[in-house]
Amino acid sequence: MSLIEVKAKGKTYLVATDRRYTESDEWALLESSGVIRVGITDYAQKELKDIVAVELPEIGRIVKKGEEIGVIDSVKATSPYYAPISGKIISVNKELEKSPELLNKDPYGAGWIVVIEPTSINEYETLLKPEEYAEKLKKK
């Protein structure tokens, strides 16, 4: 996984080049088996900081692109996260129940949140490319 460094708001944010992004700061990684792994971006975790809990959706739930699938609690704020793609939730990261700080420590790796089996892979192509997301960050 290679990373782009983006400087914005006096800080540095990392963007992984092997995946796609949403306007609402989730990433989506197309895996070789055709499923999509989902998490929040380095920018999102830096904004939230102090993450204390992650609410995970039920396995088997059918979600639509843009639908709220859970929330992330930081010390004083609750922020929803959204499905980047339509499909079925086939796996959730149970480790986050014990160690929600993984979202802060490793947002693009061990801090993944769910895996979605997409209804149509075409939707993946409509997500933001890493360079496009990096541009968005610069404007924040």
Binding site: K49, V52, D73, S74, K76, E97, K98, P100
Partner: protein, 374 residues
């Protein structure tokens, strides 16, 4: 010029020098966080940190009728406060015995008292004081010092060491609640220093002109003091079971029970005292007993670090028994904690209840305050 919001005077210094993340508390822009709220919280509990609390209202009351005036406004007996000492916290009530604000008083002399108000209540209280003074013809003048001085709160078990390091031995010898005016620390002129500790830790409050406070901060930062923001301040007060306006108390009787239910503690109400605003309703509430009572809820570890937010419902079996007023993740206990008003019939310490966290119910135990041992 019309201002939509105010910023605390040293905000830019905190942003540039200490990378503060600013945010809004009411109409005040203040440092919300510097590094991590959890780290800042633990620093205050185990070491020493500072908060800039210049958004809090500060007022000088002056005149021959100050004592009758404050005796009329507040629930605590302030007739025997010693000169050079703080008294409080105490409560200003409405006629229906709901709480307008909780405040601290400082007695400079019989005719000169300082008052610290909550930021969100400042304008309301200033209007209210003027109204009472006119109506009752009290000879009291009010000077708003809020924007004249910055105010720091130095908090944590190592507060003393910091002041000692700065050569202010006399400050270390201040008794709890004692204060002094017009002193000097490390060559910096300060208007007031007091010793209290509203995070539950030992601590000092320092007021001074903005430039002087900035100079003092530079010296203290070189001695290793760490900044803490408003998020940590909130989680610290919740761990201690300290109340906040619009959460645990407020004036609206349809939202907030009477002040007896608040169980404020710390002798905020002197039952032996007569003739203060709201007394009649307060005594009625006391005689009749309370329908609601404020308790602590320790959330089960099954919820991980989840915690209920304001207005979440509390249940026993299928019965609704009350609502949450504040909740947070407790860095010391490593679990969710909350304050709630529950029906007094169900307020049995140690009993298990259920609390709603976003549509799911989790077990919680009814506990007394503070949540942590002090």
């Amino acid at each position: 010029m019309y201002e939509l919001y105010k910023r605390i005077p040293l905000l830019d210094f905190y942003i540039e020098r200490l990378r503060a993340e600013p945010g809004f508390f009411g109409d005040w822009e203040v440092p919300m966080r510097y590094t991590s709220a959890i780290e800042e919280h633990l620093t205050i509990r185990t070491s020493v940190g500072f908060f800039d609390v210049s958004h809090m209202g500060r007022v000088l009351l002056r005149g021959p009728d100050v004592v009758p005036f404050i005796q009329y406004v507040y629930t605590r007996d302030l007739s025997r406060v010693k000169v050079g000492f703080m008294s409080g916290p105490t409560l200003a009530l409405t006629e229906l015995a709901r709480v307008k604000d909780d405040e601290m008083l400082y007695k400079i002399s019989d005719e000169d008292w300082l008052l610290v108000l909550n930021a969100l209540a400042r304008e309301k209280m200033l209007k209210y004081f003027k109204h009472i003074i006119e109506e009752r013809k009290f000879k009291v003048e009010i000077y708003d010092l809020t924007e004249k001085y910055s105010m720091l709160a130095i908090q944590g078990p190592r507060s003393i060491e910091i002041l000692d390091d700065l050569g202010a031995k006399w400050a270390v010898d201040l008794k709890p609640l004692e204060f002094r005016l017009n002193e000097e620390i490390a060559g910096v002129k300060i208007y007031l220093i007091s010793r209290s500790g509203w995070t539950g830790e030992d601590g000092f409050e320092i007021w001074g002109e903005h430039g002087e406070i900035k100079r003092l901060l530079e010296v203290m930062l070189s001695k290793g003091i760490k900044p803490a923001g408003l998020i940590a301040r909130d989680t610290l007060r919740i761990e201690m079971g300290f109340v906040l306006g619009d959460h645990e108390y407020g004036e609206d009787p349809s939202k907030f029970p009477c002040a007896v239910s608040l169980r404020y503690g710390m002798s905020a109400i002197s039952w032996g005292k007569r003739g203060f605003i709201g007394e009649e309703a307060l005594r009625t509430c006391r005689r009749e007993g309370v329908k609601w009572i404020r308790v602590g809820l320790k959330i089960s570890r099954d919820a991980g670090r989840l915690f209920p937010r304001k207005d979440s419902s509390v249940y026993v079996e299928d019965v609704y028994i009350g609502w949450v007023t504040s909740g947070c993740y407790s860095p010391v206990l490593n679990r969710g904690i909350a304050m709630a008003y529950i029906d007094s019939k169900y307020a049995i310490l140690g009993e298990e209840v259920e609390v709603d966290i976003r549509g799911k119910r989790y077990l919680a135990k009814i506990v007394d305050f503070p949540f942590i041992k002090k």
